[in-house]
């Protein structure tokens, strides 16, 4: 049995809202049980809209900021 947690990175730094929100939603929908998803965003508008999208889906992510314009939302399924 493989207990290793698979982490998927979805780098959306090149996308502004609403593309970032759409692509984040696609990545969340594609997440399998046992996987962890890191959504990397490059601007505050995208951060706000993706956070709202996750909230609407009933998902509470953990948040980390790296530098001025790199935001990471992490969710596990």
């Amino acid at each position: 049995m493989n207990d290793e947690i698979k982490t998927v990175e979805c780098d959306l730094c090149g996308f502004v809202c609403p593309l970032s929100k759409m692509k984040a939603a696609e990545a969340v929908d594609a997440l399998s049980t046992g996987e962890t998803l890191n959504i990397v965003l490059g601007d505050t508008e995208s951060l706000k809209s993706v956070a709202q999208e996750l909230k609407d889906k009933g998902i509470k992510p953990s948040f980390k900021q790296e530098g001025e314009n790199r935001f990471i939302l992490t969710i596990a399924k």
Binding site: C13, G14, F15, V16, C17, P18, L19, S20, K21, M22, G42, S49
Partner: protein, 333 residues
């Protein structure tokens, strides 16, 4: 057979499909409304834009916007409730340009099918998709594509809401056509508000010829409506009003509800034999009620025909039929 590359409107021989797009030398028809108009002192005409080659008023602006655009190595992307998308796809196909269209999810299936038929990549956008463009998710999506670092170099957008060529197309073609077709005697002009290119371009031209011509804009009575292509401008924050709108040429704005619009479109089909889209119904309803006691000549822009909206009309005409059967009518066969 005519030779050369220019259009021959007399023989109707053309070297490519875009040459059929209306112009003062090849105008769309003005057709008088007879039985619906009860004001004998007013000659009311429809400017039937369905006679453009791709079926709507948007053919004029699609060609004007695309012909001068640098599309080398790029894909054209545009938000559209259908008519601009169809026109852009046709012109783009004729010019060998790739095109993608963002559409609201509430447009008729017929338009989506035509866009797919034309090979355009279709992106359906929920109205609430983007907070930057409330209730216009398709505009927000295209804005995102054009501004995202990962995609901006691959796409170019005509942006009909801000592109002065939208206004220019009507200033140089539709306006002069109407002036000439009415022998300069037009008194009232009615058009729907959407991107506002039609009313701004035609209105500007007609006002320059005769400042006394009254220009009337027609908009939906509610922001939530089923009149594809129309937009309620009244009450919008300034940032959401189309940049190309020239308020100085508009004398009045009238609000029309879905029910009156659809019923007028159906009446026009049944009493005059002219099948039009629901926006024509809205604009015509406004005209029939605005100039009830006036004399002169009125022109109503009819953006397109009924055939792209059969699924929208189906519920209404089926209900009509059911009511007739209930009262023992319409079953003469």
């Amino acid at each position: 057979m005519a030779a050369g590359n220019g259009p021959d409107h007399e023989l109707r021989v053309y070297s490519d499909i875009t040459q059929l797009i209306a112009s003062p030398l090849n105008p769309t028809p003005l057709v008088r409304v007879n039985r619906l108009n009860t004001n004998e002192g007013l000659a009311l005409y429809l400017k039937l834009e369905r006679y453009n080659p791709f079926g709507s008023v948007k053919d004029r602006i699609a060609y004007e916007m695309l012909k001068g655009m640098d599309t080398e190595g790029k894909t054209v992307v545009e938000p559209s409730s259908g008519n601009t998308g169809i026109a852009l796809a046709c012109v783009a196909n004729a010019l060998g340009i790739l095109v993608e269209i963002a559409v609201p999810d509430r447009i008729p299936e017929e338009k989506k099918t035509i866009l797919k038929l034309l090979g355009a990549k279709l992106m359906e956008a929920d109205d609430a998709l983007c907070p930057l463009f409330p209730s216009e998710g398709a505009r927000g999506l295209v804005n995102g594509i054009i501004k995202s670092p990962a995609t901006k170099d691959k796409y170019v957008s005509p942006n009909q809401y801000e592109n002065e060529l939208n206004v220019k197309a009507h200033y140089q073609t539709t306006g002069p056509e109407i002036w000439k077709q009415t022998s300069g005697k037009i008194n009232f002009f009615f058009a729907g508000l959407g991107t506002c290119g039609t009313i701004s371009g035609i209105g500007r031209y007609l006002k320059e010829q005769n400042p006394a011509v009254r220009i009337i804009g027609v908009e939906p009575a509610s922001p939530e409506h089923h009149l594809p292509g129309m937009k309620r401008i009244t009450g919008l924050d300034e940032e959401y009003i189309p940049k190309i709108l020239d308020r100085s040429v508009i004398d009045d704005t009238i609000q029309i509800g879905d029910k009156d619009a659809y019923q007028t479109a159906i009446d026009l089909a049944r009493k005059e034999g002219i099948p039009v889209g629901p926006t024509t119904g809205a604009i015509l309803y406004a005209a029939l009620n605005y100039a009830k006691a006036d004399k002169g000549i009125a022109v109503v822009v009819s953006p397109d025909d009924a055939f792209k909206y059969t699924s929208f009309y189906k519920g209404i005409v089926d209900a009509d039929l059911a009511a007739e059967r209930q009262f023992g009518l319409g079953d003469g066969i």
